[in-house]
Protein backbone atom coordinates (compact mmCIF):
# COMPACT_ATOMS: atom_id res chain seq x y z
CA UNK A 1 0.00 0.00 0.00
CA UNK A 2 1.18 3.50 -0.81
CA UNK A 3 1.00 5.95 2.08
CA UNK A 4 -0.91 9.18 1.55
CA UNK A 5 1.17 12.16 0.50
CA UNK A 6 0.95 14.75 3.25
CA UNK A 7 2.37 18.21 2.52
CA UNK A 8 4.01 20.26 5.25
CA UNK A 9 0.77 22.16 5.74
CA UNK A 10 -1.35 19.02 6.21
CA UNK A 11 -3.15 18.82 9.55
CA UNK A 12 -1.79 15.35 10.24
CA UNK A 13 1.79 16.41 9.65
CA UNK A 14 1.45 19.51 11.76
CA UNK A 15 -0.13 17.52 14.58
CA UNK A 16 2.61 14.88 14.44
CA UNK A 17 5.45 17.40 14.54
CA UNK A 18 3.72 19.48 17.18
CA UNK A 19 3.18 16.53 19.53
CA UNK A 20 6.76 15.34 19.06
CA UNK A 21 8.35 18.76 19.44
CA UNK A 22 6.26 19.74 22.44
CA UNK A 23 7.02 16.51 24.27
CA UNK A 24 10.73 16.77 23.53
CA UNK A 25 10.80 20.37 24.71
CA UNK A 26 9.08 19.34 27.92
CA UNK A 27 11.86 16.85 28.58
CA UNK A 28 10.12 13.67 27.52
CA UNK A 29 12.19 10.67 26.52
CA UNK A 30 12.79 10.34 22.78
CA UNK A 31 10.87 7.07 22.63
CA UNK A 32 7.90 8.54 24.46
CA UNK A 33 7.79 11.49 22.06
CA UNK A 34 8.22 9.30 18.99
CA UNK A 35 5.51 6.87 20.04
CA UNK A 36 3.15 9.75 20.75
CA UNK A 37 3.83 11.04 17.23
CA UNK A 38 3.05 7.58 15.86
CA UNK A 39 -0.27 7.48 17.69
CA UNK A 40 -1.20 10.96 16.43
CA UNK A 41 -0.39 9.92 12.84
CA UNK A 42 -2.33 6.65 13.21
CA UNK A 43 -5.37 8.59 14.34
CA UNK A 44 -5.24 10.75 11.23
CA UNK A 45 -4.44 7.83 8.93
CA UNK A 46 -5.96 4.62 10.29
CA UNK A 47 -5.72 3.15 6.79
CA UNK A 48 -1.93 3.03 6.97
CA UNK A 49 -0.62 -0.24 8.47
CA UNK A 50 0.76 0.42 11.93
CA UNK A 51 4.18 -1.02 11.16
CA UNK A 52 4.59 1.51 8.34
CA UNK A 53 3.85 4.50 10.55
CA UNK A 54 7.34 5.03 12.06
CA UNK A 55 8.91 4.97 8.61
CA UNK A 56 6.47 7.61 7.37
CA UNK A 57 6.86 10.02 10.27
CA UNK A 58 10.64 9.50 10.38
CA UNK A 59 10.83 11.68 7.28
CA UNK A 60 9.01 14.49 9.10
CA UNK A 61 10.88 14.52 12.41
CA UNK A 62 14.42 15.64 13.27
Amino acid sequence: MVEPICPVSAACRQAVTRAYTTLKESGADERVAFEAAEIVYAWHHPEVPRQRVPFVIADWLP
Binding site: V32, A58, P62
Partner: protein
Protein backbone atom coordinates in the same frame (compact mmCIF):
# COMPACT_ATOMS: atom_id res chain seq x y z
CA UNK B 1 17.89 -7.44 10.89
CA UNK B 2 20.40 -9.56 9.05
CA UNK B 3 23.42 -8.50 7.14
CA UNK B 4 23.53 -9.46 3.51
CA UNK B 5 27.01 -10.23 2.32
CA UNK B 6 30.23 -11.30 3.86
CA UNK B 7 32.32 -9.42 6.34
CA UNK B 8 34.85 -7.31 4.55
CA UNK B 9 36.91 -6.05 7.40
CA UNK B 10 39.79 -8.18 8.52
CA UNK B 11 41.58 -5.88 10.89
CA UNK B 12 38.58 -4.26 12.51
CA UNK B 13 38.98 -0.84 10.93
CA UNK B 14 35.53 -0.91 9.38
CA UNK B 15 32.54 -2.82 10.69
CA UNK B 16 30.89 -5.28 8.32
CA UNK B 17 28.05 -2.94 7.51
CA UNK B 18 30.29 0.09 7.15
CA UNK B 19 32.29 -1.92 4.64
CA UNK B 20 29.11 -2.79 2.74
CA UNK B 21 28.09 0.87 2.77
CA UNK B 22 31.46 1.85 1.35
CA UNK B 23 31.20 -0.86 -1.28
CA UNK B 24 27.83 0.50 -2.37
CA UNK B 25 29.05 4.06 -2.37
CA UNK B 26 26.87 5.28 0.47
CA UNK B 27 28.02 8.52 2.07
CA UNK B 28 28.69 7.80 5.73
CA UNK B 29 27.48 10.42 8.16
CA UNK B 30 28.36 10.01 11.82
CA UNK B 31 24.88 8.71 12.79
CA UNK B 32 24.99 6.18 9.94
CA UNK B 33 28.44 5.06 11.06
CA UNK B 34 27.26 4.55 14.64
CA UNK B 35 24.14 2.67 13.54
CA UNK B 36 26.18 0.52 11.16
CA UNK B 37 28.62 -0.38 13.91
CA UNK B 38 25.88 -1.23 16.36
CA UNK B 39 24.17 -3.44 13.77
CA UNK B 40 27.44 -5.14 12.95
CA UNK B 41 28.12 -5.84 16.60
CA UNK B 42 24.63 -7.27 17.15
CA UNK B 43 24.53 -11.03 17.30
CA UNK B 44 20.73 -10.99 17.52
CA UNK B 45 18.18 -9.29 15.25
CA UNK B 46 17.34 -6.04 17.00
CA UNK B 47 14.19 -4.16 16.12
CA UNK B 48 14.21 -0.39 15.77
CA UNK B 49 13.65 0.27 19.45
CA UNK B 50 16.36 -2.11 20.60
CA UNK B 51 18.65 -0.59 18.02
CA UNK B 52 17.81 2.88 19.33
CA UNK B 53 18.72 1.85 22.88
CA UNK B 54 22.09 0.54 21.78
CA UNK B 55 22.81 3.54 19.58
CA UNK B 56 21.77 5.96 22.29
CA UNK B 57 24.39 4.48 24.62
CA UNK B 58 27.01 5.61 22.11
CA UNK B 59 25.48 8.83 20.81
CA UNK B 60 22.45 10.18 22.63
CA UNK B 61 21.83 12.83 19.96
CA UNK B 62 20.63 10.23 17.45
CA UNK B 63 16.83 10.22 17.27
CA UNK B 64 14.28 7.49 16.59
CA UNK B 65 13.52 9.20 13.29
CA UNK B 66 17.18 8.90 12.29
CA UNK B 67 17.10 5.21 13.19
CA UNK B 68 14.06 4.58 10.99
CA UNK B 69 15.37 6.69 8.11
CA UNK B 70 18.71 4.89 8.22
CA UNK B 71 17.10 1.46 8.43
CA UNK B 72 14.94 2.30 5.44
CA UNK B 73 17.99 3.49 3.51
CA UNK B 74 20.07 0.43 4.42
CA UNK B 75 17.20 -1.82 3.39
CA UNK B 76 16.67 -0.01 0.07
CA UNK B 77 20.38 -0.41 -0.64
CA UNK B 78 20.27 -4.10 0.33
CA UNK B 79 22.74 -3.50 3.10
CA UNK B 80 20.41 -5.07 5.63
CA UNK B 81 17.21 -7.06 5.25
CA UNK B 82 14.15 -6.58 7.32
CA UNK B 83 12.83 -9.45 9.39
CA UNK B 84 9.66 -9.78 11.34
CA UNK B 85 9.46 -6.74 13.61
CA UNK B 86 6.25 -7.97 15.25
CA UNK B 87 3.34 -5.74 16.12
CA UNK B 88 3.97 -5.40 19.85
CA UNK B 89 5.90 -2.41 21.05
CA UNK B 90 8.02 -2.47 24.16
CA UNK B 91 7.12 -0.10 26.90
CA UNK B 92 9.66 2.28 28.29
CA UNK B 93 10.28 4.79 31.02
CA UNK B 94 10.33 8.51 30.84
CA UNK B 95 13.31 10.23 32.42
CA UNK B 96 11.67 12.69 34.70
CA UNK B 97 12.55 13.26 38.31
CA UNK B 98 10.13 13.28 41.24
CA UNK B 99 10.09 17.08 41.37
CA UNK B 100 8.75 17.56 37.86
CA UNK B 101 6.50 14.55 37.78
CA UNK B 102 3.57 14.98 35.44
CA UNK B 103 1.59 13.22 32.74
CA UNK B 104 0.45 14.21 29.28
CA UNK B 105 -2.93 14.63 27.65
CA UNK B 106 -2.38 14.63 23.89
CA UNK B 107 -4.92 15.91 21.40
CA UNK B 108 -4.54 13.53 18.47
CA UNK B 109 -6.31 15.98 16.19
CA UNK B 110 -4.03 18.96 16.71
CA UNK B 111 -1.00 17.45 18.43
CA UNK B 112 -1.44 19.78 21.39
CA UNK B 113 0.19 18.38 24.55
CA UNK B 114 -1.18 19.31 27.95
CA UNK B 115 0.81 18.48 31.05
CA UNK B 116 -1.15 17.54 34.12
CA UNK B 117 -0.70 16.28 37.63
CA UNK B 118 -3.43 14.60 39.61
CA UNK B 119 -2.90 13.59 43.21
CA UNK B 120 -5.81 11.16 43.17
CA UNK B 121 -4.20 9.39 40.24
CA UNK B 122 -0.85 9.27 42.03
CA UNK B 123 -2.45 7.82 45.14
CA UNK B 124 -4.38 5.29 43.08
CA UNK B 125 -1.25 4.07 41.30
CA UNK B 126 0.59 3.65 44.56
CA UNK B 127 -2.35 1.77 46.02
CA UNK B 128 -2.59 -0.56 43.01
CA UNK B 129 1.15 -1.29 43.16
CA UNK B 130 0.91 -1.86 46.90
CA UNK B 131 -2.04 -4.23 46.52
CA UNK B 132 -0.05 -6.19 43.95
CA UNK B 133 2.86 -6.41 46.38
CA UNK B 134 5.06 -3.73 44.85
CA UNK B 135 6.57 -0.46 45.88
CA UNK B 136 6.06 1.92 42.96
CA UNK B 137 9.39 3.31 41.72
CA UNK B 138 8.42 4.88 38.41
CA UNK B 139 5.73 5.08 35.76
CA UNK B 140 4.55 7.28 32.96
CA UNK B 141 1.20 7.95 31.44
CA UNK B 142 0.12 9.51 28.19
CA UNK B 143 -3.57 9.99 27.51
CA UNK B 144 -4.74 10.43 23.92
CA UNK B 145 -8.04 12.04 22.99
CA UNK B 146 -10.05 14.43 20.87
CA UNK B 147 -11.63 17.55 22.30
CA UNK B 148 -15.33 17.28 22.97
CA UNK B 149 -17.42 19.60 20.82
CA UNK B 150 -18.92 22.47 22.79
CA UNK B 151 -22.66 22.23 23.38
CA UNK B 152 -24.61 25.36 22.42
Amino acid sequence: MTVEGEALNEIGVLSRIEALCAEKGLRMTEPRRVIARVLSDSEDHPDAEELYDRVKAIDSSISMATIYRTMKLFEEMSIVSKRDFGDGRARYEKQSGPDDHHHHMIDVQSGEVIEFYNQELEDLKKRIANELGFELVDHHLELFGVRRKKQH
